[in-house]
């Protein structure tokens, strides 16, 4: 069952979208994406000189008539796309409760999955440290995926890097990878994670989901004992106007560093705030990254 956000109108809008990859990947089945493989597709690609053994049915007799030379037609192979959606289900994605960060990330994952499945792509959803779905095919698989994600509750992940590596190791065929997270983790972890994905020659897109509490974690409080949702570590802190400004600067610096790394790695980044509208984010921001079209 899909969340309430997935209204009939929203789904009809999604059906107009298509997941795109910046590169051609070999698929396992016939699908809607151009395969690097040339073969028996129906789309004309180009000509080449006739070689002994070519199928005489592919000889373009019109060109022969004009040029008295034998040329055969070449055709594009259209195959499915492997889509890997990595969904950060660590505790930080659901802190504070009720803010909607986890729900936003989950809905983005479901949206991308729906689009892919409707295009007959294979979708694999991985929640490092929690679960790793099999490859899913067909539009009906979205409901099973919706149920799976509905029952999933973010929780602390002990070693995100190790779990991510495990998730990536399951990938058999390269394709598109979408990493959905708040990326509020040490830069080294982010770097390592994306490098692992890059090593698999995936077409990676990063989607950062942030809540209002990420922008001002101790809003309206002068002081507090902050508890890390992942580790449980406590930290006494007092906040005044200057420290809040300093925190904003730190957050901006961190995000800038991540953005610059991803830019250098040619990995598009889209940032979704919990206050954003999901349809708008999907149709505008994600489209802008080139992931959807």
């Amino acid at each position: 069952m899909l969340p309430e956000t997935f209204t009939a109108q929203y789904l009809s809008q999604l059906e107009l979208l298509k997941l795109r990859s910046r590169r051609a990947f070999l698929g396992t089945r016939q699908g809607g994406h151009i395969s690097p493989k040339k073969g028996h597709g129906i789309e004309f690609s180009d000509y080449r000189q006739y070689e002994l053994g070519d199928n005489p049915r592919h000889i373009d007799w019109g060109v022969f008539a004009r040029t008295e030379r034998l040329y055969v037609k070449r055709f594009q192979e259209e195959q499915d796309l492997s889509v890997l959606i990595i969904l950060d289900t660590s505790a930080s994605m659901a802190t504070p409760p009720g803010e909607g960060k986890w729900e936003m990330a989950r809905d983005i994952a479901l949206t991308l999955s729906y689009i892919s499945l409707m295009e007959h792509d294979s979708v694999m959803v991985s929640a490092p440290g929690r679960f790793h779905s099999p490859s899913l095919y067909g539009g009906k698989a979205i409901h099973a995926l919706g149920n799976l994600l509905r029952d999933l509750k973010p929780a602390a992940v002990e070693n995100l890097g190790f779990e991510l590596q495990r998730a990536i190791s399951r990938i058999r065929f390269p394709g598109v990878a979408v990493f959905i997270s708040d990326f509020l983790m040490p830069f080294e972890t982010i770097q390592r994670s994306f490098n692992m994905l890059r090593s698999k020659n995936l077409d990676i897109t990063a989607i950062q989901v942030l809540g209002q509490s990420d922008l001002d974690p101790l809003k309206d409080k002068e002081s507090a004992i902050a508890i890390d949702s992942e580790t449980g570590e406590t930290y006494e802190i007092g906040l005044d106007a200057s420290t809040r400004n300093e925190y904003a600067t730190l957050l901006n610096t961190h995000n800038t560093k991540v953005r610059e790394f991803l830019k250098e790695a040619r990995i598009p980044l889209a940032t979704a705030l919990t206050t954003d509208s999901l349809p708008r984010f999907i149709q505008e921001d994600l489209t802008e990254t080139g992931l959807l079209g």
Binding site: L184, M185, E222, A226, I227, S229, E230
Partner: protein
């Protein structure tokens, strides 16, 4: 107790100051606890731990400004709870003002200020220069000792303008004695023109005679000490005016005594006679003006001297008379002839049988105020239901058991009562030798409170007289009639004395101030038409007149009729200024505690706390709005 800025401060409950360190400790603990703050789960401490600066509450105890504000509130509340007071000690002082007649004298005859005004200035200065925390009870001596309770200096000063000099004696000795024993004052300050007796002059601890303008070095005062308008006999003969002049001073002085008369209401005085006199100390020889005009409504005697007079107010005397002749109504079963009253010359008696009395009463005041109606009444062996509004002689019914007539409580008749005592000073008892009087039958009675007992017997009151609302009444329990003249000299003289006393003639000759009730009744208009040195005032209601103590000639109007009534003041002790007796100070003294005036300061602290809290609320509201706006 500590002294600070000229005042003394203390606390009623100093132990409550322990709340201060307790409050401080609680506040510090609260702020230390507050610094830790509540536990908040955040997504990650990744960035928070990188913050270089944190609010001071997280690290060392460096409280924010609000801490000091809350500290100030706790300090103010603890101070307020301890009951701070500003203490000041002072004394209780009774201030006795002599406002008797002699205080009207002028220390300097050429200046208008009187001893009384100078004395009030001295009293004011005394109050203003005493310790601020002292309490004052202001008293005045005349006509009777009156005063307030102890109050602050400012309140006492407000009372002074309400005290006026009145024509009355000072009664200083009794006033001082009463204050010394009952007032509870530590000091009695006296404003008077009399000096303390030499023997008591050193008693400065208890009494302080305020000094003010010294009396004139030569206190010459000529005065009148009596005036009488009389006829040769009741209702017959020529009128004469007898005036008694006096003088107090070192030398003899030439004086002129003038007699004026008015014949119609509203007219000016007409001088009808004068005599030149030589007045000296102790001279009190009466001057008689014989054969004065019989038609005059009132007479004014004025004494003028060749030398300045320090107290001119006592140089005037008035006497008035009714224009009516003597006509007395007799309410009796028997007529005037049967009762021998026709033997009394120049008095007309009108017989009213008791059964006809209601007819006359129903005629109302309009009839009674006519000049031809009787001015006085005799009720012979008959009592009306209520007191008549005319001067009345009641001869009580004999026989019968005890009864209350509504007017008097009557006891059973007694045979041959013994006379026990009588009042020789009353005019009705003039020329009477009561021991020679033998009473055969007496109807004793209980006199009303305003009736003065003139003759008492072994069985009770036999004769009483009094005045109520300007009307005179005589009540006798034994038979005066029939009038037998020389055959019964005692009862005849008593009858004539009583009739003279209730006659209209005697009533309007004059009253002496101070009086307990103005001689007029409700519905009558009181007009002061002549008043010596004071300006004459116009109409006043009876209620206003009750508050008067001004000597002069009054005209009492009722409907179309008028009569003149004189108010005089004759008191030698007040007029003989050069022979003022020193004041003997009382010996007894009640304990007087020094007062401790404590002014609580808690209200001020509470107001300060309230103001700070309101300010805090306003500042919080304003800052809150700004935050939202940003």
């Amino acid at each position: 107790m500590i002294s600070l800025f000229g005042s003394t401060y203390g606390m009623l409950s100093p132990w409550l100051l322990l709340a201060l360190p307790a409050g401080f400790a609680a506040l510090i603990y609260a702020y230390l606890k507050r610094g830790k703050g509540e536990r908040v789960v955040v997504a990650t401490l990744l960035l928070l731990k990188r913050l270089k600066k944190t609010a001071s509450a997280r690290k060392d105890f460096l409280p924010p400004p609000r801490f000091y504000f809350e500290l100030l509130l706790i300090a103010l509340l603890a101070l307020g709870a301890s009951g701070p007071v500003q203490e000041a000690s002072g004394r209780k002082i009774a201030l006795l003002i002599d406002n008797s007649f002699s205080m009207n004298s002028r220390p300097d005859p050429d200046r208008p200020s009187t001893l009384f005004s100078e004395g009030m200035s001295a009293a004011r200065h005394f109050i203003e220069t005493e310790e601020p925390s002292s309490l004052f009870a202001v008293y005045y001596t005349s006509p009777a000792l009156s005063g307030s309770g102890f109050e602050s200096a400012s309140e006492a000063l407000k009372r002074l303008p309400g005290i006026k000099a009145v024509p009355a004696p000072d009664n200083l000795e009794s006033a001082l004695s009463k204050l010394a024993l009952e007032s509870g004052a530590e000091l009695i300050a006296v404003v008077t023109d009399r000096k303390p007796a030499a023997s008591a002059a050193k008693d400065e601890e208890r009494f302080k005679f305020l000094t003010f303008a010294p009396p004139a070095t030569n206190q010459r005062n000529a005065f009148l000490s009596g005036i009488v308008l009389s006829r040769e006999s009741l209702g017959r003969g020529d009128f004469s005016v007898k005036i008694i002049p006096g003088y107090s001073g070192e030398k003899t002085v030439d004086a002129t005594l003038e007699l004026g008369a008015i014949y119609k209401p509203g007219e000016d005085w007409q001088r009808i006679a004068s005599k030149n006199l030589k007045l000296g100390e102790s001279s009190s020889e009466a001057v008689i003006f014989n054969s004065v005009p019989p038609g005059a409504l009132a007479f004014l005697a004025t004494l003028k001297t060749s030398l300045p007079d320090v107290l001119p107010e006592d140089n005037f005397a008035w006497v008035g008379q009714s224009p009516r002749g003597e006509k007395i109504a007799l309410v009796s079963e028997l007529g005037p002839g049967e009762l021998g009253l026709t033997q009394i010359p120049s008095v007309e008696f009108m017989h009213i049988p008791p059964s006809k009395l209601p007819e006359y009463e129903s005629l109302g005041e309009a009839y009674l105020s006519r000049p031809d109606t009787p001015s006085s009444l005799i009720f012979h062996r008959y009592l009306p239901d209520r007191l008549p509004i005319r001067n009345t002689l009641f001869i009580l019914p004999q026989g019968g058991e005890s009864q209350g007539s509504g007017l008097f409580e009557l006891f059973p008749s007694a045979q041959s009562p013994q006379i026990t005592r009588w009042d020789v000073s009353h005019p009705i008892n003039s020329y009477l030798n009561y021991p020679a009087l033998t009473l055969k039958v007496l109807r004793p009675f209980k006199p009303l409170p305003w009736l003065h007992e003139l003759l008492n017997t072994s069985y009770g009151c036999a004769l009483a007289a009094g005045e109520k609302n300007g009307v005179r009444y005589v009540v006798t329990g034994f038979e005066l009639l029939p009038y037998e003249g020389k055959s019964s000299p005692l009862t005849s003289v008593l009858t004539l004395n009583a009739l003279k006393w209730i006659s209209d003639f005697a009533l309007n000759s004059g009253y002496s101030a101070p009086f307990s009730a103005f001689p007029a009744r409700e519905g009558q208009q009181v007009n002061l038409v002549s008043s010596g040195t004071s300006p004459a005032i116009s109409r006043h209601s009876l209620k206003e007149a009750q508050g008067f103590s001004q000597t002069g000639l009054y005209r009492i109007d009722e409907g179309s009729s008028s009569k003149f009534t004189a108010i005089n003041y004759f008191e030698n002790s007040e007029s003989e200024l050069s022979r003022k007796q020193p004041v003997a100070l009382p010996a007894g003294r009640a304990t007087a505690d020094r007062i401790l005036n404590r002014k609580p300061l808690t209200p001020f602290l509470a107001q300060a706390v309230l103001a700070l809290l309101v300010l805090d609320l306003l500042v919080t509201a304003i800052l809150g709005r700004r935050k939202h706006a940003l």
